[in-house]
């Protein structure tokens, strides 16, 4: 699976890059070198310094120390710092996680945009077109050049982005979390393209935190942790365990799912339509989640998961069809009614829906139960009770914070998630909606979320787990459902699950799959 083991000359060298933001040492004397024809993976948790390093490479930041060198006519030449134009001229290109395309222009126009003098575009269009088509043929990246970008799929948009870089004759291509938005098949397609491009001499820096992918595509893996390069290993000598430990700096205990029989149905949807935005609505969804099981929902984001989550969170009522909780039809669709019925809800966007940043950790912990008589008397808050709850939660869930009275916005993403878990799991929930529960968390915090969900399952809770991370779904779920364009397909028990079939279902080829 790895790329050619005979890389060429060094094209890029980062020597002793150092950058501080106040007290934060974002990059501490980092050395990296990149050779022609190789894929170098840059692995690290959020905040490890990957983005800072790439921003220095592109001249968005000026390093406090060290030098970027690029192969030139006289060997390696230093690249002037702080100049994006110089980086572009030196043949360094980047595909961002969030695309930078003009949606109303065609793929072709996006590719040539900015490379031609504005007033002469029409004259040289034919030549440019020829070159774009040649680039497309050489790289194996096929896209409809004439359709407006807004009508292209996410995978196609990514191809346009890569073509844009190749058209500018890049020698070094940086891909930032390129597979986050792709189905497994699309990711495989991307890897095939990358192998083809590297065999022609392109050097690639592949930024990711997904261990499997990094192992599959790269030749060498550099691991960053807390601003330092803590390791550089050849991919064939590495495994998931080693990489995870390098990233986190300690051993990461994985949660394991013990076999257990599931109980009575807790959440049932039959032919439910929900959501107003037609492209993202839920259509004729039928599913059931039973006590003591985790049901995973796979799918590329934007295929109706948000509507499903809103339904189970109590934010929306079905437009058609029937929703049952604990065997009975739901009469009151509201967050408060759902909380009262022991439904734990972990929102997808914890900053927007999960946390009131300026309120304290303690206040955020009781926000769902503030009207419960444990926490108020005659409309007045019972501070002692609120504080005791907060202290217990901080202790039991290891929420790292300055104290119960600290504003919640000071917490890191992982600790915010722990706060939310402490809030919703404390009351012994019977149904848990976990929407992207470990998104953006580091490996350690992720493992923590997983253990909590598995413990809740063992305690008999029904869990609906919506996630874009297929590894997470396969690790935790008893059964997997796949969403595509608002429709839900049952992919079956995880034990008999075929990754390829899940991928096909995610891409909407339900009929192409056997069974």
């Amino acid at each position: 699976m790895t790329v050619s083991e005979a890389p060429g000359a060094v094209v890029l060298e980062l020597a002793g890059i150092d950058k501080r933001f106040g007290a934060l040492h974002a990059n501490a004397h980092i050395d990296l070198s990149l050779r022609e024809g190789e894929v170098l993976a840059l692995l690290g948790e959020n905040g490890a310094g990957k983005t800072t390093l790439m921003n220095i490479l592109f001249g968005h930041y000026v390093a406090d120390g060290g030098e970027v060198r690029v192969a030139g006519a006289q060997g390696l030449e230093p690249l002037p710092g702080g100049s994006p134009a110089a980086a572009l001229a030196a043949g360094i290109g980047m595909v961002h996680q969030h695309f930078t395309l003009a949606e109303n222009l065609s793929g072709f126009e996006n590719i040539v945009l900015g490379t031609e003098p504005v007033l002469r575009l029409w004259r040289r269009a034919a030549q440019a077109r020829e070159r774009v088509e040649q680039t497309m043929a050489e790289s194996g990246l096929a896209v409809d050049l004439d359709a407006p970008v807004e009508r292209l799929s996410v995978g196609e948009k990514q191809r346009v982005e890569i073509l844009k870089a190749l058209y500018r004759r890049v020698r070094v291509l940086v891909l930032d979390e390129p597979t986050a938005v792709l189905t497994p098949q699309e990711a495989e397609g991307l890897f095939a393209v990358l192998r083809r491009l590297t065999s022609r001499g392109l050097a690639v820096i592949f930024i990711s935190h997904k261990l499997n992918e990094v192992l599959a595509i790269s030749g060498r893996i550099a691991v960053l942790r807390a601003g330092r390069k803590v390791g550089e290993v050849a991919a064939r000598e590495a495994d998931r365990r080693l990489l995870a430990e390098l990233m986190v700096g300690r051993e990461v205990p994985a949660g394991t799912r013990a076999e257990q029989a599931s109980g009575a149905p807790v959440l049932q949807l039959s032919s439910v339509d929900a959501g107003t935005d037609t492209s993202r609505a839920l259509r004729e969804a039928t599913l059931a989640v039973h006590a003591g099981e985790i049901v995973g929902v796979a799918g590329v984001s934007g295929n109706g998961q948000a509507a499903l989550a809103a339904l189970v969170a109590g934010l929306e009522a079905p437009a058609a069809g029937e929703m049952r909780l604990f065997g009975e039809p739901v009469r009151r669709h509201s967050p408060r009614a759902f909380v009262a019925r022991a439904i734990a809800r972990i929102p997808e966007d914890r900053h927007r829906d999960g946390i009131v940043g300026s309120m304290s950790v303690a206040e955020n912990l009781v926000i769902e139960d503030v009207r419960h008589r444990d926490y108020q008397r005659a409309g007045f808050l019972r501070f002692g009770a609120v504080r005791r709850r907060a202290e217990a939660a901080i202790r039991d869930y290891d929420v790292r914070c300055p104290g119960p009275d600290a504003p919640a916005r000071l917490l890191s993403g992982g600790n915010m998630q722990k706060l939310i878990l402490a809030r919703v799991l404390a009351r012994g929930p019977r149904l848990i909606l976990a929407n992207q529960p470990s998104r953006g968390l580091d490996v350690g915090a992720q493992a923590d979320v997983h253990r909590r969900l598995l413990a809740a399952r063992a305690a008999g809770a029904a869990v609906l787990l919506i996630s874009e991370d297929l590894d997470e779904l396969l690790q935790l779920s008893d059964r997997v459902l796949v969403m595509h364009r608002g429709r839900v397909t049952d992919a079956g028990p995880t034990a008999q699950l075929d990754r390829a079939r899940v991928g096909l279902l995610m891409a909407g080829h339900g009929d192409a799959a056997p069974g």
């Binding site: 002037p80 408060r336 927007r352 940043g357 926000i367 808050l381």
Partner: protein
């Protein structure tokens, strides 16, 4: 290049410094117009300070001015905490004043404590009722309350003028558009002989304390803050947004209504269409200067009132127009906005090579 970095932590004194700094900056900036009017600066500031705080009488005048400002300031602060932009304090003040004269100018008779309580209640209710319309329009149609409450000010003031030239005109008033006087039993008693200070000050101070308790010690206040700080999270957590907004609107209107009661039942004794020189709007500045803190409102109201009274006094002595006070108030609002920005962000002047 100028870079802005959000500050992670705010020490408790930083917002305080921003407010105090804004007040001082506003006072210093008016040095420019004072100087251009040809008045020696030291003298002008000395006269202003003496006029506002220099004697028992000066202080009593300042506190009398501060009384309605505290209540309209609280009205704005409560609403703004829940991100309900009530700009209609002026109209609600007039509605409260109108209700006070309707109830307290002879329509009802009774012992003083009862009648005073009734007048206060009527004024608060009237102010709250005025907010019902904008609140309903916002919840039903998403109408922007900035527009509805602001425009309602003019509607109410015109309505008051109509009443003063019609049903509520004083038959003994020689045709002037003014209401009959508040009867003695309904009047807020004076606090200090030979001053205009009245019991409305106690009402305002009690209201500040009550709002502080509401916001910091009650479930309703908890919910108001949650709705104001992050409405999506509040909704997700099961807080009834509509109900919280509605209650906030009513409380805010009631506080502004009380300001109107104080002015007619404590100070003027009868209602005219020029009862308030913009106390409703100045209340917004008071609330912003106070950082929306109810106890801060008391301090900010005294400051703004001192500026008004002091500028009046200075203008009598030097001939500089007392519009200067409005200038200070307006400048203070701008300064507090800048101050708030500077407390939230750290501004760095970063050199950028090659850029």
């Amino acid at each position: 290049m100028i870079a802005l970095e959000p500050r992670q932590r705010l020490a408790w004194h930083q917002p305080l410094l921003a407010s105090a700094g804004a007040g001082v900056a506003a006072l210093l900036l008016v040095a420019i117009p004072i100087a251009s009017a040809g008045v020696p600066l030291g003298e002008a500031y000395r006269l202003m300070a003496a006029g506002a705080f220099g004697s028992v009488f000066a202080l009593s005048e300042t506190l009398t001015r501060a009384t309605p400002l505290m209540l309209t300031g609280l009205a704005a602060a409560v609403a703004f905490r829940a991100k309900l932009w009530n700009i209609g304090g002026e109209g609600q003040l007039y509605a409260g004043a109108l209700a006070a004269v309707a109830v307290g100018s002879g329509a009802l008779a009774g012992p003083a404590p009862l009648l005073v309580a009734l007048v206060l209640l009527a004024g608060a209710l009237a102010g709250a009722l005025v907010m019902l319309g904008p609140a309903w329009l916002k919840m039903r149609f998403g109408a922007d309350e900035v527009v509805t409450t602001l425009l309602l000010n003019f509607v109410i003031i015109l309505f008051v003028q109509m009443m003063l030239e019609g049903p509520l005109q004083d038959p003994m008033g020689l045709g002037w558009p003014q209401s009959p006087p508040i009867v003695d039993e309904a009047a807020l008693p004076p606090l200090l002989a030979r001053t205009r200070l009245h019991a409305g000050l106690y009402v305002a101070l009690a209201a500040a304390l009550a709002v502080w308790v509401l916001l910091n010690r009650t479930v309703l206040g908890f919910e108001m803050r949650a709705v104001g700080e992050n409405q999506a999270a509040a909704r997700f957590a099961g807080i009834a947004i509509t109900r919280t907004m509605l209650v906030t609107a009513l409380i805010s209107g009631a506080l502004a209504g009380l300001a109107g009661v104080g002015e007619v039942a404590g100070l003027k004794g009868y209602l005219t269409a020029d009862l308030s020189p913009g106390f409703g709007y100045a209340g917004i500045v008071v609330a912003m200067l106070a950082g929306l803190s109810p106890l801060g409102v008391v301090v900010a109201a005294v400051f703004i009132a001192g500026v008004f009274v002091g500028a009046d006094s200075m203008s009598r002595a030097t001939g500089v127009s007392n519009y200067l006070a409005d200038l200070v108030v307006a400048t203070a609002l701008l300064c507090v906005l800048i101050g708030g920005f500077l407390t939230r962000f750290r501004v760095r002047l970063a050199a950028r090579a090659g850029g």
